[in-house]
Amino acid sequence: MTDDDDLRTRLHRADPAADVPPTAPDRVSRLLEKTMTTTTAAPRRTTALRPTRLITLAAAAVVLIAALGTWFVLRPDNTPGAPVAAPTVTEITAPGIAAKCAEPTADRLTEAADLAFAGTVTTIDGRIVTLEVTNVFRGAPTDVVRVAQTGDISETMMGSGKFEVGRDYLVASSEGSMLTCGYSGEASSPGLAGLYDTAF
């Protein structure tokens, strides 16, 4: 074994990585952040609302549809106990309300919503809008939400006023019915993210 030891010692002394310093903690966290956000595209609540992420997410949505099964198994979810095998689907309806809207408040949102989530629209089939859920703030964990648009909600949705494929939305519903009137809309609409932050 001494021959082996000699050989190992000689090799060891020539180790080109001998003077590689330990990785700085901030480099570790940078690498980690990049790793986890790149792979999962399931940002936490605050990051989902940053406009700079929208484009990335929109592109990611296309990939996500293709890789749906895998993604469900691997994504880090904020909701422990969420099923990993088959996607769970929640269905709500979005009635067209002609009534005038009172100014939305976080209190009212907290009180009324039994489901609130952030999601990206993956498909729109006729009046059925399918959203890939990236975060559930309230309600049972779910992977996909289908919104049946029973009326014209364009007046009451925040942001662009309608669902569009690839865009991110914050949606709240009460007893299976989507809350409009400033309580649901595009994630980047002014004030909406703040409202959700305060409410949940």
């Binding site: 021959d3 082996d4 000699d6 050989l7 190992r8 010692t9 000689r10 090799l11 060891h12 002394r13 020539a14 180790d15 080109p16 990585a17 590689v20 330990p22 990785t23 903690p25 480099r27 570790v28 690498l31 980690l32 990049k34 790793t35 986890m36 790149t38 792979t39 691997l74 994504r75 880090p76 979810d77 422990p80 106990g81 969420a82 990993v84």
Partner: protein
Amino acid sequence: MNPDDRRQRFEAVAPTVIDAVRRFLARRTDPATADDVLQETLLVCWRRFDDAATGEVLPWAYGVARLCLANAERSRRRQGRLLARIRQLDPPRSVSPAPGLPDDDLAAALASLRADDAELLRLWAWEELALSQIAVVLGISANAVSIRLHRAKRRLRDELRKGEASAGHEESTEGSRP
């Protein structure tokens, strides 16, 4: 594995893995490639972390890094060939320069070995892995590692002896011991 557990476990082992993989790459490629491959390795490790749940993380991560590095070198060679064809130039001489060793004789001896043998020796002496761990990195049985490593050591010793004989100088492994 619960997603939160998974994340926590990954974050717990990541600093060790990052350090180890950085060294692993510093021993085998240039700094720019090492940076790229480190990020790629982490991505793959995170994506396939469940595979590592049953065993030791480090040898598994080395295995991932090894394949990522091979991929990087393959695509670089491909780019090199394409460039060469377009410009009708010679392909780049050195594809991914391995870092120079302070011990010239040893460097020459290692370079003259087959790539597989040299890699076994590096994993054994530099990553300081046990036979069973090397087996995980290379995806072969511990038994095969034992046999091949034994042979690789013999070949390295032969090469070192040959080098010393032809250079005609006195330095030997015995004399250079601290």
